[in-house]
Symmetry: C5
Subunit: 355 residues, 5 copies
Amino acid sequence: MPLFTTKFQEKVGLPPGTLIHVGEKRPENCKITVIAYDENSFEEKEIKSIEESFPYRDRPGITWINIDGVHQTGIIEAVGAQFGIHSLVLEDIVNTTHRPKMEDLEDYLFVVLKMLYYAGNGNDITAEQVSLIIGPDFVISFQEKEGDTFDPIRKRIRNNSGRIRKKGADYLAYSLMDTIVDNYFVILEKIGEKIEEIEEEELLENPSRETVHVIHSLKREMIRLRRSVWPLREVTGVLERGESKLIHKSTRIYLRDIYDHTIQVIDTIENSRDMLSGLLDIYLSSMSNRMNNVMKVLTLIATIFMPLTFIAGIYGMNFANMPELQWRYGYPAVLIAMLVSGLSMVIYFKAKKWL
Amino acid sequence: MPLFTTKFQEKVGLPPGTLIHVGEKRPENCKITVIAYDENSFEEKEIKSIEESFPYRDRPGITWINIDGVHQTGIIEAVGAQFGIHSLVLEDIVNTTHRPKMEDLEDYLFVVLKMLYYAGNGNDITAEQVSLIIGPDFVISFQEKEGDTFDPIRKRIRNNSGRIRKKGADYLAYSLMDTIVDNYFVILEKIGEKIEEIEEEELLENPSRETVHVIHSLKREMIRLRRSVWPLREVTGVLERGESKLIHKSTRIYLRDIYDHTIQVIDTIENSRDMLSGLLDIYLSSMSNRMNNVMKVLTLIATIFMPLTFIAGIYGMNFANMPELQWRYGYPAVLIAMLVSGLSMVIYFKAKKWL
Amino acid sequence: MPLFTTKFQEKVGLPPGTLIHVGEKRPENCKITVIAYDENSFEEKEIKSIEESFPYRDRPGITWINIDGVHQTGIIEAVGAQFGIHSLVLEDIVNTTHRPKMEDLEDYLFVVLKMLYYAGNGNDITAEQVSLIIGPDFVISFQEKEGDTFDPIRKRIRNNSGRIRKKGADYLAYSLMDTIVDNYFVILEKIGEKIEEIEEEELLENPSRETVHVIHSLKREMIRLRRSVWPLREVTGVLERGESKLIHKSTRIYLRDIYDHTIQVIDTIENSRDMLSGLLDIYLSSMSNRMNNVMKVLTLIATIFMPLTFIAGIYGMNFANMPELQWRYGYPAVLIAMLVSGLSMVIYFKAKKWL
Amino acid sequence: MPLFTTKFQEKVGLPPGTLIHVGEKRPENCKITVIAYDENSFEEKEIKSIEESFPYRDRPGITWINIDGVHQTGIIEAVGAQFGIHSLVLEDIVNTTHRPKMEDLEDYLFVVLKMLYYAGNGNDITAEQVSLIIGPDFVISFQEKEGDTFDPIRKRIRNNSGRIRKKGADYLAYSLMDTIVDNYFVILEKIGEKIEEIEEEELLENPSRETVHVIHSLKREMIRLRRSVWPLREVTGVLERGESKLIHKSTRIYLRDIYDHTIQVIDTIENSRDMLSGLLDIYLSSMSNRMNNVMKVLTLIATIFMPLTFIAGIYGMNFANMPELQWRYGYPAVLIAMLVSGLSMVIYFKAKKWL
Amino acid sequence: MPLFTTKFQEKVGLPPGTLIHVGEKRPENCKITVIAYDENSFEEKEIKSIEESFPYRDRPGITWINIDGVHQTGIIEAVGAQFGIHSLVLEDIVNTTHRPKMEDLEDYLFVVLKMLYYAGNGNDITAEQVSLIIGPDFVISFQEKEGDTFDPIRKRIRNNSGRIRKKGADYLAYSLMDTIVDNYFVILEKIGEKIEEIEEEELLENPSRETVHVIHSLKREMIRLRRSVWPLREVTGVLERGESKLIHKSTRIYLRDIYDHTIQVIDTIENSRDMLSGLLDIYLSSMSNRMNNVMKVLTLIATIFMPLTFIAGIYGMNFANMPELQWRYGYPAVLIAMLVSGLSMVIYFKAKKWL
């Protein structure tokens, strides 16, 4: 999710429900995997065309269709037609600039989430939109590209570990959402480390000029993060209150757990923002302090040498009648006077605590 | 919508419902077009006087009357009389300084929106008020001046593309509102680009003095934008909750879509404001940094040359008895002393990381 | 309404309902006018004592008693006794430091408003408290002093223009309130002009030192304005929701109109506050910028002339053995060296964009 | 109420309802006065021990027991036992660090208020906790020390002035609360005067360095004041809504009056805080302005005299071959050159508006 | 509770209810104590394995099991199995990074609190998570490590002092929570002292550079504190409203007391934050003031000595024809001119109040 949404110009005026992929264009094909399971059986298959998945639907047990890549709108349309998904929902799936949201369309729930991770160099947060269609006995998940985020869940289903095979589609959806939310803590941890790094650096005398840019970029990341997480509070809150009949009562306590985590993430984000503001204040006061120090040096030097140079200037004058110039000890006397003047300045500044 | 409302002085004390056009005065005539359609038929006509549109009303199907220009209050009054519009509503139509709002007058809904676009040089956001009267089988739209914003919708009606010919007046109204909201994203995109431009510039050593003015003018635009969009949240929220019998149940999901877009726009505006505040902080810290650098140069120069000039001053004194002056290597000795003094200053500043 | 309430010390501990005029003391007498009207008849009369107004009450039609001046507590008490007004309400009428409020006392509504205008030199906002007692067939309005604000309404009643003569006491009260709220827009317009003046001035290189005081005084006015308008939102909101049986259903849409205007005023106030904050930021960054420029000039001068003066100082020394002094082209060589040194400094600063 | 609560360490882990006086320790004895009255009779008595007050309870009419001093926990316990007061309420009475609050214990209401006044030198706001137990026919008021705040009410009861003798215990409680709230206005008035003093001073060129400390201490007072008044809004709001059967319907309008006053106090506090922030901004910009002026003087002096001194330095050089030195008008020519150089600098600075 | 949560990476993707201790790793064993009591009997025992506690459950009276240390997940699991605790609750007990929260699981209440104290050097606030399981006749409390915080309660149970032996498990839970909340006041007191220290220091001319770091670290502590206390408001609020059947009606007034204390703590935290912001403002203005003073000294020195040095320079020039040099009183005249020039500068600066 870019900070500023893009590619809208081409959408203005089009009829609603027109599927136009908004997001990074990708060359590779969508990858579709189907996992069908109940307490006793388990089947996993990668399929070429979405049609292959349809037979699974009529079998008892839970069907989880995972689609990596939403840029092939044909596939999305085929899914929509088969599962009776509203065209606006399909439009939202392919438009990857959405905020997290939850919509209850009675026959199924539609949930949009943001998966966040540090990609590539590990410095920039990358956001990927994950959409979930949650039906009574199926879950369809859409990711922007292939990834391994959901692998632990696949493994738990395969190995029949935990409760996942005993529970329904709502529990599967909860597990997927939980994985995404858990990832936020990893992000927060990394940001926390960066903030602590800055804090330590600031304690030194000379914070580098980069500090303010690092603070700014952390603030930027916070804005992004908050954007992905804030709306999640409502999403999980609504799910947890169990207003949809698709959510079993026993699953609510798990959703409550996600809700608590979301609150905790939001809380940490807000605190981090406070911390960053505080660090900027310290940075600025430290800049101001250094300026004070520079000015003190300048003032010190000027205050000591200006009077001295002036005295030297006096005795450099060429007046015919300057009796001091003929005095035997005129020169050493002036030198001593200069020394005294300089020293008294230094003492004065010591007293004022400038040195 | 100007930031500060204008032309109110002349309205003080007038009876309510007095039609006085508040806004930019325009010379051209109002342009009225009527589009009447149902699933099978379609008629489009530009008419001279509003009376010509009245026959359409009694025919089955949907009638869309679009009036470009609200400065001819006579036309507005005629419409009001024919369609039984409350005089306060008419007053709001011709007063183009209103905030977006929605009023349910039972027989019809009255919606005020702001259409925003970059006009002329493409630097200033121009706002135009669009008012919609939504009846059971008609929509009357009022624009401040002729424009092509609604052309895609006309085309969709003409070509019977999408669902628009199969649906009612509420769907037509939704399509008009959707077009307006989609335009906001185009604005946001442009502002986003400007913000990113500033960000990049700030990373350089020397942000130009203009930066702060650009930031300020972006803030101004944000205030304007927010003013147009914030109240829209309530408008679309109320419509979507479907409290009016004029909105069919099947249209609500579309209105929900506009509501989501509005939230997304508001969200982006708030984030942009945060970003702009951050950029101002960077700008100020960068100013402060440059001041520090300037001061360091000054202090450096003064600290090196003041002592040297003082030494030169000493040996420029004219005392009769200054033995050093007669020494053979007095002059080179002093030069070397000066060199050492200067160099040690430079080394000192290097150690303090001032160089 | 002063920013800080006054004259309370003398009220501490007094029984509630004690009428003590709090506000500017005025020498002139209260002026009482009675307007009685129905759709067909109209009578207007200035009366000396409040008792003269009592007969009007029993006649059919609407009676509007307007009292200019609330410092003669005897008159207020007489009105209270005749119309059965609660003593706390009377106390509120003569205490002109109140915030706008609405109280439903079942037999009548009591509304306190603030009328704002630019008085005298046109620079300071003056606030005057207007209290309305709205009964089933009468309205009593109290102003702090004689004014012409309500003249347009008197004229409309006299000329039977608009709906006013056909409607009840609630519509009359609405008209009075509407006039007061319309005046706020005039104030906002003037403040808007002042803000735009500052904005233009700030774009110049040298904003005057007064700017910050103008910004502060505008902020002060904003605080005052907000204080008068914020509570009005609740007042008009409650009236509009029609919880009192004294407000006819058909009047509600008019009150809704006032409510909308109030929201618009509040909105503009908040935006203006944002603008003023932004202007202060620009002012401070501009101050900082000028400081930078001053410092650059100083550094420039010092950096060019300090080394030069030092060189001159060297050759002003009086050592016996300074071979350069005897060189034929020593003097021009030094002059050229100085020129080169000075020019290279200038070039250096040009390269650093300081010139 | 100190800003930071004290003496809690000794309370940690004690059973609830343990009476430990928290607050300033006082040597003098508690003073107990009983006033018993109904419409026709009146009795006032200072008593030594609380037991003397018990007979009054069984008589018809209203009994008001006022206890000055809550440090003798034995007396509080005796009252509690006689009137059946919950031990947590007694604990709250002797712990004088509480926020204002209201508790409905069905048989009686418990109200905690803060009485504020300028004590001693008139510069520091002193806060005293006043607790009220409001029963069906009695009011017990606890003050921290003897004071004359309630004297006007005693006088009104004695003289049977106003309604107080005709009304119940709730009206008596209202009168006590009203007196306390009225005192807040006296405080606000004084703070208002101080703010206006600062404002005037700031308009001068040279705000003293103390200004920022005065602003800070006013902010501190605001925090204190707000702390005492904010919770009062809820207290009076709840009382006014009349949810307790101990409050007669006819008393509610008086409580509504206190509620309005509380809102007005809060409003003024918030506005004052805004004003103080604005004044700090002015102060800082004024500091910055003075710095600019100081720097201008320095730059001016340096820019004028550095080149001049350099020229003088040139002709102070001792080269054998300096033809200008032998010119007849060399000296006056150089003097004139210096004058021109200096004057042109001055003119340049005049043009740049630095002078 | 660290500001930034840690150790989450290893939890991502694990099934919910997996017990992984998140927090400081501790070597020592968990310590388990059981206290069983009713009004007449009392038994206290330290046990080795949790199984020893199970018999107590079936006896009448209240059982309080206190477990110091949650890093041995086996013990927690055993407790969970015996008391039928939901696995998500167990997970929350061992994950010590939680915000305070309350969950009503019908058969028992689960409350998470943060115990705060100054550990070790007394400068850093240490937070420890305390979890309570409140059943109909038992309370299980989990602490992160052994501590003496609950000793006063143990003593009150042992000695049968206060009401504790007469009341139920809810009262015991209340007592534990009350002890924790009382500790917050001790923290606030210490922070209050530190703030007052800074305030006094700031009043001096030369606040040390450390001030800003102390302010920052206090702000940090405030963020932590707020994080622990804010959610507590909801926790105690929900408990006090008595929505759970596990809370007896007579206990509610005690919970109301905790709620009041929580509000008071939050209030003090918010005020302290305000104070700290104010202190930072003072610090910055004080920095700025010192800079002004430094600059004044520099300007003073430069303004006095630059013209003097220039004059000396003039009479150091070597022109053949400088008549003043031959004047008898040329030298003293120049000295006097210099004195006058210097003095007039001093007088000028005195007039401008720079000295």
